[in-house]
Amino acid sequence: MHVEVREGPLSPWQELADFEAGLPGGKSGATASFVGSMRDFNEGESVVAMFLEHYPGMTDKFLRRIATEAAERWPLDALFLVHRVGEIRPADAIVVIGVWSAHRRDAFEACRYLIEELKSRAPFWKRETRPDGPHWVAGNTPG
């Protein structure tokens, strides 16, 4: 299990490949993944930059907890979760989640659980820079 809050770039596909290369092959029949990326628009307005604030300590603890909960609730072989903080640019990956399991239902459900818990409860806050200045994003849309 790899869980990380990262200030710096994220290459989701490369990192999923690298992580998978360290797993025993032939065990997991199913891998579900989710990548959340920065859009260059929100509520009809263009977004030119973003800052992602977090609560050092609590954010990491919270992500580890939901990862542990997912691993208890579904039979998983491996789990990868990285979320960025700090300056983000349009089209950058913000979060990547990968879940390996013997069966696809478990992989999908665990992956969906992780992103929904993260979106609704993990202490991250987006401040978008739009043409008229900075705006704190008010809330996430339900999944």
Partner: protein
């Protein structure tokens, strides 16, 4: 009794407060997170506010203890 208060994101900017130490006002009632907010900020805790004590989510009326870290923040928007 000293409590460490932290505000994040929009709350930090709106109330111009990042982090502070506070000694709860004297009284017989148990000190709650919401009461500390009222004491520090001077107005009631917004309904949408999330509260954590020692980095664990709690209800706004959760009691606080000496040395606790109490954080207040708006709805989260990661992912």
């Amino acid at each position: 009794m000293t409590i460490n208060i932290k505000l994040f994101a929009r709350f930090r900017e709106q109330y111009r407060l990042d982090e502070t130490e506070v000694t709860p006002a004297a009284g017989d009632a148990p000190v709650t997170a919401a009461a500390l907010w009222q004491q520090v900020v001077g107005e009631p805790l917004p309904d949408s506010a999330l509260v954590a004590i020692n980095m664990e989510y709690v209800a706004p009326d959760a009691p606080v203890a000496d040395g606790d870290e109490v954080a207040f923040f708006p709805p989260v928007t990661g992912g």
